[in-house]
């Protein structure tokens, strides 16, 4: 094992010696060196000779090492590419970066420290990084001050500044773009910028990029690289250690400065220098810290400014969006102060009221546009807004510019300031004309449908009611014809009586129908005569007993009843009609009582039953013609259902009135009055009644 190791060491040593020997032989070593235009650091003069700080150092080293330097001119990018491809052996003025370390190798000794500055036009207001936001910046392609870890691109990105970078092949191109105002700023090495700023009439900004250490760079795969690195490091150390060396001369010549000095001072100065260095170190630390803080603060400030600008932009966009929505909403939106004075409206309000522009509305009180009848109510409604904060859906009538009124629905909400104090109101107005018309039409259609249904039912009912007595007549007549011998005498008599009765009933029904028709046609006339109320009531009760034997009928005549001038037939019709209802709505074997008495100037009739009763809400409705039919069909069959409305017409024709009192499940009492002395009024009321029932007359 030890033997193997020894052999390996010897082999490596031999290789190194061979390489060294190869290049230290008497024949010159050709070293290809990249050169680009970056005055004063490195450039070619008018004759094409390499000039500048780096060429002087290299030339010196070449003379010392016996190299033949072959300068290979190109752009910065070309030089780096050639270096990568081993087309050149050496490239000066290269800053180290991790990325570059992948492609190249570097000398161990840094040669120069430099930094870059952003330049701009003399009249430009660009001073700091935030000023570059939204600007164009010229840069040297692939330079460390552009794409390096502390380059301008990274810096702008970290601040969130939006810069457009224009890549060029040389610093001269960068500054030319700046000079020509083709860009807003350009980043160059401070030396280059300093050299050209006056002639190009440009100025440096306060934008200074992080200093970089500059090295010699070598191809990663070069055979000569180890030799060159070793020799160059040696030479750099030597010249940097000698204060009178070409290094310092070149610094002074090309930059007017001295670089970091190597220790060649006398001892007494050494301690001074150490002190100075110490102070510089402290100051340097302070500077770095300060710079960090400035950078941080700049970053914060930049962020604040950006945030403010972004906020302002967002606010503008938001306001525009809100305004757009405000104007586009089809409902009217009005903003008013607490007194109702209009401060702003949207187009929908202008259109709704028929004005030409909102200027005709702004400044006026909203109350002006409300119809007189709704003004007070709306005022109260909006007054409650402060307390309720929101009020909804108040139906009002509004007035257009041309004076026409239209229905509208208002909703309002209070507007408060940041302290929560009400400062105004927002009112939403919807023109509901179309909706109200639709509702009215719908209701009308509903009414028509209802009327149609009732008419159909009326015909059905009339048919039924007429057929019922006819059924008795037909049935008994045919019974007598077919079974005369089989029937007992009693049965025969009852059959004939039933025929007679049914004929009367039928006649009555037909008369009833005719009466309704006459009422409609305005032809109803009362046949006035002296009527004995007691006889009237007695006859009605007796007839009812015959008609409905399963009910108990009674009469009550209170006091002496005078004769009255009336249409006796019609009075009997009224009582019979009410009795029929009592029978139909009462259970069998219950009592139905007819009463008559004098009450003041009237004769008061009443018919009481113990039927199902009538809800109070229907006390008036039951005297309406159509209502009656509908109810009866649903709950109780039988009867034309026109009776009570006819009763009402007949009673009122006499100058009396009719009403009902009832308790559900307990029973009802129908009352009607006939004036004791109606003579003059009766005649005029007959005419009035027919006019009322036939308004077209």
């Amino acid at each position: 094992m030890k033997k193997v190791l020894a052999i390996c060491v010897c082999f490596v040593a031999f290789c190194a010696f061979s390489a060294y020997a190869a290049v230290s032989a008497d024949s010159p070593v050709y070293v290809r060196v990249g050169i680009y235009e970056n005055q004063p650091k490195i450039f070619t003069d008018e004759q094409g000779n390499a000039q500048g700080f780096w060429p002087e150092i290299i030339s010196y080293m070449a003379s010392k090492e016996g190299w033949e330097i072959q300068w290979v001119h190109g752009t910065w990018t070309q030089c780096l590419e050639r270096l990568k491809n081993n087309e050149i052996d050496l490239m000066p003025d290269v800053a180290y970066s991790d990325a570059r370390d992948q492609s190249y190798d570097f000398s161990r000794e840094d040669v120069y420290i430099s930094w870059s500055t952003a330049y701009t036009q003399k009249d430009s207001r660009i001073q700091t990084m935030p000023d570059l936001h939204g600007k164009t910046v010229a840069v040297l392609r692939n330079s460390i001050n552009y794409t390096g870890p502390d380059g301008i691109k990274k810096l702008a990105d970290s601040f969130g500044f939006d810069c457009t970078f224009i890549e060029t092949d040389s610093y001269l191109d960068v500054l030319t773009l700046v000079q020509n105002k083709a860009v807003d700023a350009g980043v160059v090495s401070k030396d280059f910028g300093h050299l050209h700023e006056n002639e190009m009439n440009i100025k440096p900004t306060a934008i200074i990029l992080q200093p970089v250490h500059l090295f010699f760079a070598f191809p990663a795969t070069s055979q000569i690289k180890p030799y060159l690195i070793e020799r160059i490091d040696y030479q750099v150390k030597q010249i940097q250690a000698d204060g009178n060396s070409v290094y310092y001369q070149a610094l002074k010549k090309w930059f007017g400065t001295n670089a970091i000095e190597k220790p060649v001072l006398p001892d007494y100065a050494k301690w001074t220098l150490i002190g100075v260095l110490g102070l510089v170190a402290v100051l340097g630390m302070g500077t770095v810290t300060f710079r960090y803080q400035v950078r941080r603060k700049t970053k914060e400030l930049a962020a604040d400014i950006t945030e403010r600008e972004q906020t302002e932009k967002a606010l503008r966009e938001s306001e525009e969006k809100l305004r757009h929505v405000f104007e586009a909403v089809p409902e009217g939106i009005t903003i008013a102060d607490l007194d109702g004075v209009i401060m702003d409206t949207n187009q929908a309000v202008v259109n709704m009221y028929g004005y030409d522009s909102k200027d005709e509305l702004i400044g006026r009180n909203g109350g002006e546009f409300i119809a007189e009848k709704d003004r007070e109510r709306t005022k109260d409604y909006l007054a409650g807004l402060i307390e309720k904060t929101v009020v909804r859906n108040s139906l009002v009538t509004l007035i257009r510019k041309d004076g026409r009124e239209f229905p509208a629905e208002l909703s309002a909400a209070v507007i408060k300031d940041t302290a929560g104090h009400p400062i105004g109101m927002i009112v939403v107005t919807a023109d509901v004309t179309a909706r109200m018309q639709a509702i009215a039409e719908h209701e009308k259609i509903g009414e028509y449908k209802e009327l149609d249904k009732l008419k159909t039912n009326l015909l059905s009912t009339i048919s039924h009611e007429l057929r019922t007595p006819l059924a008795s007549i037909k049935g008994y007549a045919s019974l007598l014809l077919m079974y005369n011998e089989k029937l007992e005498e009693k049965q025969k008599n009852e059959s004939l009586e039933a025929i007679d009765r049914s004929t009367d009933r039928l006649t009555e029904l037909i008369d009833h129908l005719l009466d309704m028709s006459r009422l409609d046609a305005g032809l109803l006339r009362l046949g006035l005569d002296t009527v004995n109320p007691k006889d009237l009531v007695t006859a009605a009760v007796e007839e009812a007993k015959m008609r409905a034997p399963r009910y108990r009928f009674s009469k009550e005549i209170n006091g002496r009843l005078p004769g009255i001038i009336a249409d006796g037939r019609r009075l009997r019709q009224i009582i019979d009609n009410i009795l029929d209802n009592a029978i139909k709505y009462s259970p069998q074997n219950t009592e139905i009582t007819v009463r008559a008495e004098v009450k003041g100037a009237d004769l008061l009739f009443s018919i009481s039953d113990h039927g199902r009763g009538i809800p109070e809400s229907e006390f008036k409705k039951i005297f309406e013609r159509m209502y009656r039919i509908e109810q009866r069909l649903q709950k109780d069959p039988g009867g034309l259902g026109l009776g009570l409305s006819l009763c009402k017409s007949l009673v009122e024709a006499h100058g009396g009135r009719i009403w009902v009192e009832s308790v559900i499940h307990k029973g009802s009492t129908f009352y009607f009055t006939i004036p004791l002395k109606p003579a003059d009024r009766v005649r005029s009321n007959v005419e009035k009644e027919t006019a009322k029932t036939n308004p077209d007359n």
Binding site: S463, R467, L470, Y476
Partner: protein, 128 residues
């Protein structure tokens, strides 16, 4: 034949007393027994309690329409077998359709003659 007829008991449900009487006299003259009810509730009560071989049913009855009564009879196991003839003064075609849909065996529109009624009842018992 007469003996068979005498065994048949017909329930007449009719609120018009004259028509109730007429129908009853006619059917009794034809040798049937009759039971009478002035409303549907009474009719159902009778049908549950007594032997009923046929029901003559009016539609426009007080308190409950004849349709309700018919529906109840047809949904009652002990009663649904009883043939029902609807006997109504309503000539609406809808009534006739409804009557047959609900299971009526015949539909008579008032006024009917004694002969028509007699023939109808005879047909029911002949078919039944």
């Amino acid at each position: 034949m007469l003996r068979k007829k005498q065994q048949k008991q017909i329930l007449i449900i009719e609120d018009e007393s004259d028509l109730l009487k007429f129908s009853s006299w006619l059917l009794e003259a034809e040798g049937y027994k009759t039971l009478q009810a002035a409303d549907g509730e009474e009719g159902i009560k009778i049908a549950r309690q007594q032997q009923v071989d046929m029901i003559l049913l009016d539609i426009r009855l007080p308190h409950r329409y004849g349709w309700d009564i018919m529906a109840e009879i047809k949904s009652t196991p002990d009663l649904r077998h009883i043939p029902i003839v609807v006997f109504t003064a309503s000539a609406d075609i809808e009534y006739k359709d409804k009557a047959f849909k609900m299971g009526a065996v015949d539909f008579l529109v008032k006024p009917v003659s004694a002969e028509t009624l007699r023939k109808c009842v005879a047909a029911v018992f002949k078919n039944g």
